[in-house]
Amino acid sequence: MDNLATFLSVLAQGLPETVGATVGGIALTIVLSFAAGLALLSPSRPVRVISRIYVEGLRGTSEVVQLFWIFFALPVLVGFEIVPIWGGILVLGLNHGAYGAEIVRGAIQSVPRAQYEGALALSLSPAQRMFRVILPQAVVEMIPPFNNLFIQLLKSTSILSFVFISEITRQATQILVPRFNPQVLQIFLLLLLFYLVLSLVITAVMRFLERKAAARLGRGPSERARRAAVTGAV
């Protein structure tokens, strides 16, 4: 255990990449989830079809393949290379955004129809209906499944080690394992602990947001949302 300080500091050097990719990936995921999720419910057929192709295309192919495609095939097609960390964020966001789109769609559809009719009766504009009535209620339902999705995204950052991004998994396997081979058990337990703590941070933030979003509607977290958070459905 005398090398513990070394292990900690080498792994910690990978933290900026892991955390950066996670935060960037989450930001892109949120944007794409809402864009594609709303597009899935659009009255216009072409818009629905395009977002459906995006969602099914990215959910149907492997994330590792998407990563390699963006890193090795795309530069040939477009003629320039992407800065690794941005490429990583792009893949994480595109992939998880496709899953998030279904979360957004499902949550919007779960808002009782009477709410929509009420907004219509008050002659609110379509934008007002969506942003003032439907979405504030839908967002509360979205938070627990998004919590799970973001933890999936955090875990997915480990695949960035394939494309030479020095995040914590790569720090462990490329720097620590070759040098301290007899102590691989400690190295990996420590690495797992890093991910565990990061995922607890995500959960803590999401619980906080859920309480805030629910309080805005003047209610506690819904039964359904609580159950989803406990069973952890993907």
Partner: protein, 219 residues
């Protein structure tokens, strides 16, 4: 350097190798799924067992679910040999996939078991059935069929995560694509075909699962 973007001759030349890799991907998926289905059920039942055991199992499931599969693959690959256990990449892969997904399927089974009405447990107790018969004769036959679609979704997810095993040298479809790309310095074709192969199998499979969901209903 003016080379064409897509070379059909090259694409057809590497296709047999990619399909061979796909075969290995499917083998890993099937074997991993078997481990996940059986072990997941065991983990779910154990979580209803005596308290200390249930807590330990719960902790294990949470730890595995909140850490990356890739790290768990490396863990088995590097740590097992320290204890004198040397396994092939495929075996390590099947164990890692199986155990990782067992922790997810155990949650699915658990939801299925929780959905069995209390009255069923009470009736089984009233009939003084032995504990094992309560599980195998009453609870599980009602719990398992309802969770089949959810289990199917995890099989599809697992299929898409097999490429992580290239990290430990398994020549699955992505491993083969990588090999072809590194040999001929052409990456567009192998990775595009690999992606299409995944889509070709997983999209119909997910449609099938959705149909099943409509038939048996979700929990």
């Amino acid at each position: 350097m003016s080379q064409q973007i897509w070379d059909w001759n090259y694409a057809f030349a590497i296709l047999p190798l990619l399909l061979e890799g796909l075969g290995l991907t499917l083998v890993a998926t099937v074997l991993g799924s078997i481990v996940a289905m059986v072990l997941g059920l065991v983990l779910a039942v154990l979580q209803r067992g005596p308290r200390p055991l249930a807590v330990v199992v719960r902790g294990f499931v949470e730890l595995v679910r909140s850490t990356p599969l890739l790290v768990q693959i490396f863990f088995l690959y590097f740590v097992l040999p320290q204890f004198g256990i040397v396994l092939s990449a495929l075996t390590v892969g099947v164990i890692a996939l199986g155990v990782h997904y067992a922790c997810y399927t155990s949650e699915v089974y658990r939801a299925g078991i929780d959905a069995v009405p209390r009255g069923q447990w009470e009736a089984a107790t009233a009939l003084s059935l032995p504990r094992s018969r309560v599980w195998t004769g009453v609870v599980l036959p009602q719990a398992v069929p309802r969770v089949v679609p959810a289990l199917g979704n995890y099989v599809i997810s697992m299929f898409k995560e097999v490429p992580l095993l290239t990290a430990i040298g398994l020549l699955d479809v992505v491993g083969r694509a990588q090999e072809a790309g590194d040999t001929y310095f052409r990456y567009v074709e192998p990775y595009t075909i690999a992606g299409l192969l995944f889509l070709l199998l997983s999209y119909p499979a997910s449609l099938l699962v959705r149909r099943l969901e409509r038939r048996v209903g979700t929990i």
